[in-house]
C-alpha cells in the first residue's frame, strides 16, 4: 500500500543552522511528491513539488528537496534556518496520473532556537 513516513516528529535547530527533514515513501511507480508547510493557525502552503526530471528541486523560502529513487526518499533541506521557519512540515505523495488524491505524512514540527 502507498504510504508516506516522516520519521521525525519534532526537530529543534538553532537559527542559522542547516536543516534536513526526512520523508520516505512507499509506492510502486514514480510518485508525485510535495512538501507543504503549516504555520500555527494557518492552512498549508506549498513549498515545492517533484513530478519528474531533475531530482533536485528548488522551492520557495530557500527550501530545496532531493528525490532519491534508490532510497525512496524526498528529503527537504535549507542551508540556513530563520526563526520564521518554525512550523509544521508535511510531505505528501500523489499517486501517478489519473488520480489527484494525496497521502500525507504525519508531519514534522520544527522549532527554531534564537
Amino acid at each position: 500500500a502507498q504510504s508516506v513516513t516522516q520519521p521525525d516528529i519534532h526537530i529543534t535547530v538553532s537559527e542559522g543552522a542547516s536543516l534536513e527533514l526526512r520523508c520516505n515513501y512507499s509506492y510502486g511507480a514514480t510518485p508525485y511528491l510535495f512538501w507543504y508547510v503549516q504555520s500555527p493557525g494557518q492552512g498549508l502552503q506549498l513549498l515545492l513539488k517533484y513530478f519528474s526530471g531533475d531530482t533536485l528541486v528548488q522551492g520557495i523560502k530557500g527550501f530545496e528537496a532531493e528525490f532519491k529513487r534508490s532510497q525512496s526518499s524526498f528529503n527537504l533541506r535549507k542551508p540556513s534556518v530563520h526563526w520564521s521557519d518554525a512550523a509544521e512540515y508535511f510531505c505528501a505523495l500523489r499517486e501517478g496520473s489519473g488520480t489527484y488524491k494525496y497521502i500525507f505524512g504525519t508531519g514534522t514540527r520544527l522549532k527554531v532556537l534564537a
Partner: protein
C-alpha cells in the same frame, strides 16, 4: 495559484448540532477536496467534491455524516452533522486543476465541539 477562503474560520458548537463550512475560490477549478486534521495529527481526505454530482467519499467517511455540495466550479460546502466532541478538528478544503499535480489549501476551519 488560486486564492481560497473558508467560512467560518473557527466555531464552537454544541454536541448534536450541525455546522456547514463554506469554501470559496477566486477562479474556476476542476478539483475540490475536503480534509480533516484532528488535533496533533496529519491530514486525512474526507471526500472529493464533484461539481454537479454526489461527492466521492473515502473509506470511513459517509454522506450522512459529512454531506457535501458543489454547485459550481468555485464553491463547495461541507456539513458536519450531529456533531460529537470527536469531530473537533480543523477542516480544510483544497483545490487543483486537471492536468496539474499540486493542490492548494484554504486556511482551514477550526471546529470545537463541546
Amino acid at each position: 495559484s488560486a486564492v481560497i477562503s473558508q467560512k467560518p474560520s473557527r466555531d464552537i458548537c454544541q454536541r448534536g448540532t450541525s455546522l456547514t463550512i463554506q469554501c470559496q475560490v477566486d477562479s474556476q477549478v476542476t478539483m475540490m477536496f475536503w480534509y480533516r486534521q484532528q488535533p496533533g495529527q496529519s491530514l486525512t481526505l474526507i471526500a472529493t467534491a464533484n461539481q454537479g454530482s454526489e461527492a466521492t467519499y473515502e473509506s470511513g467517511f459517509v454522506i450522512d455524516k459529512f454531506p457535501i455540495s458543489r454547485p459550481n466550479l468555485t464553491f463547495s460546502t461541507l456539513t458536519v452533522s450531529n456533531m460529537s466532541p470527536e469531530d473537533s478538528s480543523i477542516y480544510l478544503c483544497s483545490v487543483g486543476q486537471t492536468g496539474q499535480g499540486e493542490q492548494f489549501f484554504g486556511p482551514g476551519t477550526r471546529l470545537t465541539v463541546l
